[in-house]
Subunit: 379 residues, 4 copies
């Protein structure tokens, strides 16, 4: 049985909306039946038609959509929120209040306060809330996490995370680049630029794999492109609850980097290295032994990794498949509420991850404003 899916945002010209739709379709677990794809009425309707959504379920107002869908006997089970950041909170609230499950793009909100408020709403609504830190859906990321949990790297000492791009090296927000425009606009993006857009992914992924929780940060945020209104480069030192130390570098102005997200973790027994642009391999170095190239579905794969893989080793799966795995895990989790069992439910990022991300964003900003003094994540 496919879940009935609605979408808010993601009309023509958007990027992440299309990704969510493919991800929902890939394993055939969802059917897109309703949408408030644009606040512009004519674009809302034309976008909906292009996606096979019936006119009567092509909304221009997300609150109306929440009410109407709740009222329908065949109303949506779950809504995907793929708007600019500042809309995440109000949209999520509307659907949670309507008792509809929510799949929300990251960052969860534009402030920690909103994230905390959202947690209350999730609790009272009883609905399911998932946050698409999609990079956690890659099989080799999950295998890396498994290896850490199995003690293969030992006690963690160092965590190095990076998420580096180059598409904002020039002032792309002055062109007709829609993505650049809203992502550098504090009104739409919130107080964090590169930090919120991709730095949050790197932070989430590092913690996801390492298991450690960052307790404090010393940060130096920079805006390199003249006239830009938000940071485009992020340098952070990290301290973790288990004594590990780390660094995180995120940038959108580093030429030659397309989407260079990577995590390296070193413990007293071994090391791990994963790069998003070559996602089907994971480098594992047990101390004093040769480095191993682990592959998706290859020798040594863990159960968790195998459950997130569709095709044999050597047949590369990519970004969309990792995203789709998250969507399928979410479908499992939602359906498991009517009984059933889903081992990956615990892996799906939720509201607590969102809160942790916002604590991190705000601590980084505070530290940077305070000339890089160490700031605690728990305010």
């Amino acid at each position: 049985m496919r879940l009935k899916l609605g979408m808010v945002g993601g009309g023509e010209g958007a990027f992440i909306g299309g990704v969510h739709r493919i991800a929902s379709r890939l394993d055939d677990r969802y059917e897109l039946v309703a949408g408030a794809l644009s606040s512009d009425a004519s674009r809302a309707i034309s976008s909906a038609r292009a996606l096979g959504i019936a006119d009567e379920r092509a909304y221009t107002d997300f609150e109306e959509m929440a009410r109407a869908e709740r009222a329908r006997p065949d109303g949506i089970d779950v809504v995907a929120i793929v708007t600019p950041n500042y809309m995440h909170f109000p949209v999520a609230r509307a659907f949670l209040e309507a008792g509809i499950h929510v799949i929300c793009d990251k960052p969860v909100t534009t402030s920690l306060d909103d994230a905390l408020a959202l947690k209350e709403l999730v609790k009272t609504s009883g609905a399911y809330f998932a946050l698409t830190h999609n990079y956690t859906g890659y099989p080799m990321v999950r295998q890396a996490r498994d290896l850490v949990h199995q003690g293969k790297v030992g006690k963690i000492r160092v965590v190095q995370a990076e998420y580096v791009q180059d598409w904002l090296a020039d002032k792309a927000e002055d062109t007709d680049n829609k993505q650049a425009r809203w992502r550098t606009d504090p009104k739409q993006s919130g107080p964090a630029g590169c930090l919120g857009d991709i730095g949050t992914h790197a932070f989430n992924l590092a913690q996801f794999i390492a298991g450690s929780r960052a307790t404090e940060v010393a940060a130096d945020l920079t805006t390199f492109v003249p006239g830009r209104r938000l940071d485009d480069n992020v340098h952070v030192m990290l301290r973790f609850d288990d004594g590990a130390r780390g660094m995180l570098w995120s940038s959108q102005v580093a030429p030659g980097n397309e989407n260079a997200l990577s995590v390296r973790i070193y413990g007293d027994k071994g090391g791990l290295e994963w790069h998003q642009e070559t996602p089907n391999e994971l480098w594992f170095t047990p101390l004093g032994e040769p480095t191993q190239r682990l592959t998706r579905g290859g020798p040594g794969s863990t159960e968790t990794a195998n459950r997130g893989t569709r095709i044999p080793p050597g047949h590369p799966e990519g970004y969309l498949e990792g995203f789709a795995t998250l969507y399928s895990n979410i479908a499992d989790a939602i359906q498991a509420r009517q009984g059933g069992n889903t081992p990956e439910a615990a892996l799906v990022p939720g509201i607590d991850d969102g809160i942790e991300g916002m604590r991190w964003v705000e601590a980084v900003i505070r530290s940077s404003e305070n000339n890089s003094a160490w700031e605690k994540l728990q305010s």
Copy 2:
């Protein structure tokens, strides 16, 4: 409007059937509504139900399916044939005779004679026939072809193609590995083992990119695993119509190779290198200039490559996306028959590519039987 898709083969336990289904779904161009998924009645019905196919359209006999679907007002537009090789021809014939478009997995048949006969059937049926040499769907493969066509490598001198795996290094056909069993069984696979299973892909891909046509081959086929009934290693020297020379190595017994398909092409002005396991990059070396790493959607992308890409550079697309691009191109081509225009129609492998592949398979076998004497592809 989505095309109505039927499928023959691809029941539980199959590999490539699932791939075709994901490929058809990814861009939302098809709807799977009928299938003869297994010749075993109970598996046919249970597989169909798992895929959401109505019981009345879950057939056990492909001929019955062709007749019944033809007769239905809502009958399928196109059938995907994902059976073992020996069934490709009879199934394709049945659907072509019913006037239904055909998407057929490779190799097109198990003999050149059958392939030639199939061409006649395609011609008389007026139906569309596509052959899923899916590796041609990768954007960087198409960009490589474009660069050759633009003269960037100059006159081609050398073509080196490889397709190497290791999953048959042991006698997997003696286990319950269903894939190994039929692929090493001459009755189901035809006279070619590794040669037909993956060698044909490498050959097709080399010609697809280079544009050159092989005219003769000198080959040495080997069966390394004791007791195996078909070749598991293929060594071929090639001569092309434009004076180029080449080599092709294909193996299923080379430990450490998961799905190592690669093509390297060298002309008097430059060189190109592409590896399937890292499909989002293409190495281009203009003679006397630094080697360039071209990326999917990155600087220098060609139109053809861009039309086959869904997400930004650095967000890896993989095997399923390339396969899906072929499916979407096929949908375009079928729909263009009612008018319309589709620039990639010419890129979709069809019956002539199938015939060329079978000419090649048979010439390789003849050469190997004749102690590697050069054999012409045109018999």
Copy 3:
């Protein structure tokens, strides 16, 4: 005419002494004729004999050696100092005072004060002083520097440097590992462990290539191996005089890293990336163009890079060749003092680089002691 070379340190069981000897020999510019290879008399003589040094020039006391060699008509032209760090200063002083040129391993001293004092000694002695930051001798490092100078990366924004090893992940200083013993001993190494041993190389190299000068640092030094007396992990954020920002990570406890020195530099026009373990290639990305793989001696090589290369592209040169290039540049520089000209003299690290390195080491230590507050390099 070969220069007459003496050596202090580098007896049996040492590492870097052998490297200096090979480096001096490779281009046939030096002849090793004297040494105080060990303070242990019998090891001093046996080491000297093994190297073909006459017994009468096998010293056990470096001060005696300086006096005696100065007095000989055929006395050494230049001495190589390859002792543990704490001996660099007294040995250099002795030979400078004897008017003998000095080639000193890094770090130049164990304190900034000593480094400043040494500068005075260099000045008054009139002798030549070179510091073997040998990684600057790699052709592609020099080419990277050239590209920066030519404006190919534009105004520099971000500098990321790393120097990571794993050989001290366990408590190797408790074994008979002589290298581990002295490098983790504050009496022999000075106040900096990993920081002084390899962090200084990364810092030097980053500035060498970028041209920018670091003005302040925020650092977090850690000792992960229990009982170790010096830092084994270094995390530093950097600010540069031209507005660039950066990070430096150096560690000796990261499993899987053998000698992973790397520098990445990003400006508003392009990016550069170089890794010491694959030293014959340099990645250059002009913004908006494909990434180029530049190779030693390959298309686009600069004059400086070409002068530091001995064999054709594709024939890898390594660590010893880079070191030898530095030695040959030093020979050129020394011989140029009698007239002549040497374009690479300006590239040889000297006392000012040593001072800069010590300023950096001390600022990092201060910052780390001050809970990572920003500390200026100019005290």
Copy 4:
């Protein structure tokens, strides 16, 4: 005690002579004291002076040199022959007849008959004869050989060798490129172009690692550059005495390939892959286990590999070091003749390897002339 070395060939403008000199010097086992560096008298003397050879030992005639050096009490122990190919035989003959040890560059001669005659001369002279297939000197090549001998790859099935360059993609012999001129001139190079120049290295290396002996070849030689007088591309299929099959591709017209020598070997238990341009790593895949990246001096190093390494893992050694290892092994072997022991003596290529290489060259040429019919190596 250093061996006294003479050299024939290698005057100003040569390539390989300089390489031999550095290789002889690197480990300080030789002293260059005599030379017939050029047949041109003034170049012979100026080249000798530049190398510190006394005028009286700067010969213009190699036969005079052999006689004179034999007569001197301090005459050379060994001569290095670094002339164009056609001179290898007469020069080797002259020195062997003078009882002087010989280090000869490859290919050993320009015909099998000469090679066989040379073997007789070696035998009767009692002198030592080494052939500089220098790539066998790389530590990871020797480790690969060790792994094969230890049974780690099991029974060998497939051997894939390549040696590919691009420096002759244009007609460089029409320019003042001295290397291109003699290497494409049948009078100086012999009947084989690319085949003799680099194909012999690939063939030698494949057999060195695999241990298998090729018994027959089917070959297709091509000359792509118009007007060139020797082959510039080599395609060969191979059959081995142990049932293995293989391919060898060698080319000097493949843009983007600088010095791409590689060997891949696959047995029933595992696979090995080594690339000359990244010589410090070896990829080893035990069947059914993760691929291992073995490094020079790293975990799992064999004794043989360790004895051929000078500096720690991660400090790259390159082409010159591998060449120097061969020179040092030769010094060991020569000195062991006066008693002593040298474990690597058996690894130094000698006259039998030269003969095997010439059998291979001639079989390849015969096969190619006979439209690629299989030709036996044992004529």
